[in-house]
């Protein structure tokens, strides 16, 4: 059933209040009246009204002052100002203060009908918009983070706790555990959710490129800077900036970043104007930042500035109970995107997945399921569709770097050292892959 539109009439003349009251009641609206601005504001503190129709000239507080205060209480309130003494100045002022419309008394009956119809349409649109936003956010939340294990539930609780504040967050976790999804969930549940979430993959960019990415640049700042460009900090105004692979940034960038975090202001590369931006910082890393601080490769002051809240995302091998759920989710996701009937997975295949240590974590599981759907019979994923036996990583390695090196080497060989294909399979960009090849001194056999 459609919700009844509620109208608050504010006018010091009782005949006007009564006339409007009767008119709107006959039209099926819910109507309340206030004889002055003070009473109206008191009513607005305890009750919600969709439309406020107010006189401008009233004893005590006038309608324009009341309009300002209403807008402070509720930014998107629909207020229609009316007056018997119309001047262009007051009309302009009312509209500047955020009035929805401005009308002169007495109205033509048709004008009043149109006015209220337009305002009602605006109310419905705002309602619909709000519901759609909520729906999109809830879809994001539901789809993004999957897991019933204690480790994942702890992460979800931490997200809920931290989302409402503006505190900086460091998300720790191995590669492929879903750190970016955690950052998205924090942003989507925060008051900043209607503003951008800007992601920067620090590891993929050289120092000068990262500087230009983060701060933006002015035209002519360097060779190739044909246009001035906004930086990611500027783009994230009122929203959130997500700095992935924060441990990879250079000492110079660490200093720059610390300064920005302290002052929330910066200058574009080649610019001389200070730009302010209100953003929240969420960082992610797969390295132990504290250890990096201890050995002097990461600034201590920056670490403490960033590490207000720390969320540790558990690796998949520590939450094997979530594997069936995740497998089911990815099957649904890929069957839908490939326009195929929904497939099932045999219990033996699930058991095999649960036994596998997944060095690449959820990303690896996702790739495995995608592959199984492509090579499978189209109805049921079986053991033979899973590449585990043939490609299982040997686990006589200890460090994460060793695992990463081994996995990258495997993928490169699989794609005959075609960098583009290998980068695509690894879901990293080519620069990152080249950096990793250099880092691990990988060579084609």
């Amino acid at each position: 059933m459609t919700k009844k539109i509620s109208i608050l009439v504010v006018d010091d003349e009782s005949s006007v209040r009564d006339s409007l009251y009767n008119w709107f009641i006959e039209d099926g609206f819910e109507v309340a009246c206030a004889e002055d601005a003070k009473t109206a504001l008191q009513m607005l503190e305890s009750e919600e009204f969709d439309i406020i129709l107010s006189d401008i000239k009233m004893p005590g507080m006038d309608g324009l002052e009341m309009l300002k205060r209403i807008k402070n209480l509720k930014k998107d309130a629909i207020v229609i100002m009316m007056t018997a003494f119309a001047t262009v100045e007051t009309a302009v002022q009312a509209l500047k203060e955020g009035a929805f419309d401005y009308v002169t008394k007495p109205f033509d009956p048709d004008d009043l009908t149109h006015l209220i119809r337009n305002a009602s349409r605006q109310v419905s649109l705002m309602d619909e918009n709000e519901k759609l936003k909520e729906k999109v956010i809830s879809l994001e939340n539901v789809e993004d983070l999957i897991g019933e294990s204690e480790g994942m539930q702890k992460v979800l609780r931490e997200i809920a706790n931290v989302a409402q504040s503006s505190a900086s967050v460091i998300i720790n976790g191995e590669s492929g555990t879903g750190k970016e999804l955690v950052a998205r969930a924090i942003h989507a549940n925060s008051a900043r959710r209607f503003f951008p979430l800007v992601s920067v993959h620090c590891g993929a960019l050289s120092e000068s490129l990262l500087e230009s990415e983060l701060f933006g640049h002015e035209k002519g700042a360097f060779t190739g800077a044909i246009y001035s460009r906004k930086g990611r900090f500027e783009m994230a105004d009122n929203g959130t900036i997500f700095l992935d692979e924060i441990a990879t940034i250079s000492p110079k960038m660490q200093v720059e970043l610390l300064r920005v975090l302290e002052t929330r202001s910066f200058m574009r590369v080649g610019g001389n104007k200070e730009i302010k931006s209100d953003f929240r910082v969420i960082c992610a890393t797969n390295r132990d930042l504290k250890a990096m601080v201890d050995n002097g490769t990461f600034r201590e002051d920056l670490y403490y500035r960033l590490n207000v809240v720390q969320i540790n995302v558990p690796p998949l091998r520590e939450r094997t109970g979530d594997i069936p759920l995740l497998a089911e989710y990815f099957i649904k996701k890929y069957c839908t995107s490939m326009n195929r009937p929904l497939m099932t997975i045999e219990p033996a295949a699930i058991r095999r997945l649960e036994e596998f240590p997944f060095p690449g974590n959820i990303r690896e599981l996702e790739n495995m399921i995608e592959r199984a759907i492509v090579v499978g019979n189209g109805k049921r994923i079986t053991l033979k569709d899973l590449p585990i036996e043939k490609t299982g990583v040997s686990y006589n390695v200890e460090s994460l770097d060793d695992v990463e090196k081994q996995h990258i080497s495997f993928i490169l060989n699989k794609y005959n050292w075609n960098i583009s294909s290998a980068a695509k399979a690894l879901k990293v960009d080519r620069v990152t892959l080249y950096n990793k090849i250099r880092k691990y001194s990988l060579k084609q056999a």
């Binding site: 003349e13 005949s15 006007v16 009564d18 006339s19 409007l20 009767n22 008119w23 009641i25 006959e26 039209d27 099926g28 008394k105 007495p106 109205f107 033509d108 009956p109 048709d110 009043l112 009908t113």
Partner: protein
């Protein structure tokens, strides 16, 4: 509860001769016997010199105080240009769920809009407006059904487009 009668009272220059012609139509739609008579008030007292119109609110209260009696419904008929403070004009108005309403024929005539006089069209518009205001006294609000008599009308063309009958929903609400 259904009223025992509806009374139409003509005031001032309203054509009394029309009353016998319209009572049957109103009785048929409402299912209530309709009586008619002539009333006397000094309509000039309700004239507003600033607006050069007659105050609909004050007239309605006058009818409520001195002419609406018993459990019946009363509609007062005038031939003057009615207004209420917020609107430039009204065809009529009534107390929602109340005992009385007022209707004026002043803006229902073709001549008012520079067209050829048409008594049949005028009578039809008058009947619809009387039934519309009676509907309010029965507790009915404006209806979105384009042919229901309770549809809100801001122009005479709107009145011409709707019928003189209540739609199913309004009939049910008003227990006609």
């Amino acid at each position: 509860m259904k009223p025992d009668s509806i009374t139409l009272i003509s005031f001032g220059s309203f054509e009394k001769k029309l009353l016998p012609e319209i009572v049957d139509d109103i009785a048929r739609v409402t299912g209530v016997p309709v009586l008619y008579k002539e009333g006397f008030i000094d309509v000039g007292e309700y004239f507003c010199p600033e607006r050069k119109q007659y105050d609909g609110n004050r007239l309605l209260h006058e009818i409520e105080s001195n002419f609406a009696t018993g459990t019946g419904k009363t509609i007062a008929l005038f031939n003057v240009d009615l207004f209420i403070p917020i609107l430039t004009f009204i065809y009529g108005q009534a107390f929602l769920n109340g005992r009385c309403g007022i209707v004026s024929g002043y803006r229902l005539r073709n001549e008012k809009y520079g067209l050829t006089a048409d008594d049949k069209v005028f009578t039809e518009r008058l009947i619809k407006e009387i039934i519309h205001e009676l509907g309010h006294t029965f507790g009915l609000k404006h209806c979105l059904n384009p042919v229901c008599v309770m549809r809100s009308s801001t122009y005479v063309e709107d009145i011409d487009q709707k019928s003189s009958a209540f739609c199913g929903t309004c009939r049910e609400i008003g227990s006609f």
